[in-house]
């Protein structure tokens, strides 16, 4: 999946995460994270964002995320929303 423009999703309210995905000239997914639970969950949050993007076939992107204690399903949902906005794709293949 190709990132065409800047995609943003999520808020900085408690239990949410704001994710910004941008195109990158470099190969790989670069993630810059700020989190209220950095020491406890920072590593896991970065992993989850990276996995989510890779599973959608993203090979290169710059991600900036501001986390206010979001749990996994929220992070995944926000990452997908930001990604689909950045890739300008409307169709998502929902799984049962």
């Amino acid at each position: 999946m190709e990132i065409k423009k800047v995609g943003v999703a999520g808020t900085v309210e408690s239990s949410d995460i704001n994710i910004v995905i941008e195109p990158s000239d470099k190969k790989g997914i670069e993630i810059e994270l700020q989190s209220t639970v950095m020491k406890q969950f920072g590593r896991q949050i970065k992993n989850l964002i990276e996995e989510t993007l890779k599973s959608e076939g993203v090979e290169s992107a710059v991600v900036r995320a501001t986390d206010k204690g979001a749990i996994d399903f929220v992070i995944k949902a926000r990452a997908l929303t930001a990604l689909y906005r950045a890739a300008e794709i409307n169709e998502y293949s929902w799984e049962a």
């Binding site: 999703a9 239990s15 949410d16 749990i71 399903f73 926000r78 929303t81 049962a96």
Partner: protein, 298 residues
């Protein structure tokens, strides 16, 4: 067991904190909203959020409902694709006006069910009626699909269409509520009342709940946790009702143990409606914590 739907709490579909915790407040159902409470720009993010919540969260015994956008909008179809797969207990359609609205949705869900190998018809729906036309068509709507488990009235649009506003006494809604209820009862499905938007007016809220309970509604849509307890309190049966229901159920058991087809209490025959009412009273009493099953054996 009789399924209770005394309270259905609205939860904005794009608010993670509420989606995580809405089931803790004791309502019988929670309704994640993709429609009116989500701005046009955030339809996609709410859809992703609710979908992922339903896929991962454990909502326990609380019934999950998702209100999708109407099929006449550009979002309805995507909502349906996502939610049939996410499998909440019920998918709620807004602004239903004709039986064709229901049939269209029924067919579309059927196609998706086939695609994902789900038994056709297993996805349940409820319909909200929010216009004079919908109210006039209530019975046709209520009987349009086997998937339909409940109809609800949405009052805000309705009163505007009726060229009036909502009043504390609710006289402007009386005909609509009654018509909707009769349709639901005739179709054998649940009837749910509209929201009460002033969350600070407890007295006004409770008056309305008493009214709709007396009319015969199964329950009410609520928009704030603090409204839940008030509805449940009003729907709690009295001690006398419970005592009577226990005796009716006792008589049923006695008749069953004797192998008798005729149920009698105090020398009078008990018929179907009385039996149904007794079970419903006990279910309400149990849910309200004023009655426990084992008390029957005391």
């Amino acid at each position: 067991m009789v399924k209770l739907r005394r309270t259905m709490m609205y939860v904005t579909g794009n608010n993670p904190a509420n989606i995580m915790e809405a089931h803790l407040y004791g309502s019988d159902s929670i309704m994640f909203d993709l429609e009116d409470s989500v701005s046009l720009k955030e339809k996609d993010s709410a859809r992703f959020l609710v979908y992922n919540a339903l896929k991962t969260m454990d909502y326990g015994n609380v019934e999950t409902v998702v209100r999708i956008n109407g099929l006449d909008t550009q979002f309805g179809r995507d909502d349906l694709e996502a939610m049939v797969r996410a499998q909440p207990d019920i998918i709620r359609l807004p602004k239903t006006e004709t039986k064709q609205d229901i049939i269209d949705v029924d067919n579309m869900i059927g196609e998706i069910e086939k695609q994902i190998g789900l038994e056709v018809g297993s996805t349940k729906i409820m319909a909200a009626v929010e216009s004079p036309l919908g109210v006039m068509n209530a019975y046709e709507i209520a009987t349009a699909s086997k998937r339909l488990v409940a109809i609800a009235i949405g009052a805000e649009d309705f009163v505007t269409n009726m060229k009036t506003t909502r009043s504390p006494e609710g006289i402007e809604l009386l005909a609509a509520r009654s018509n909707l209820l009769m349709a639901a009862r005739a179709a054998g499905i649940y009837a749910l009342d509209t929201v009460y938007t002033n969350i600070k007016d407890d007295d006004g809220f409770m008056d309305e709940v008493k009214l709709i309970k007396q009319l015969g509604f199964d329950g009410k849509s609520v928009i704030h946790p603090r409204q839940i307890g008030m509805v449940h309190k009003i729907y709690t049966p009295t001690e006398k009702e419970i005592r009577n229901a226990v005796r009716v159920v006792g008589a049923i058991k006695e008749a069953e143990s004797k192998g008798s087809g005729v149920i009698a209490l105090d020398g009078k025959m008990i018929d179907g409606p009385v039996v149904d009412r007794a079970y419903r009273v006990l279910e309400l009493a149990k849910a309200s914590g004023v009655y426990k099953e084992e008390e029957q054996n005391d």
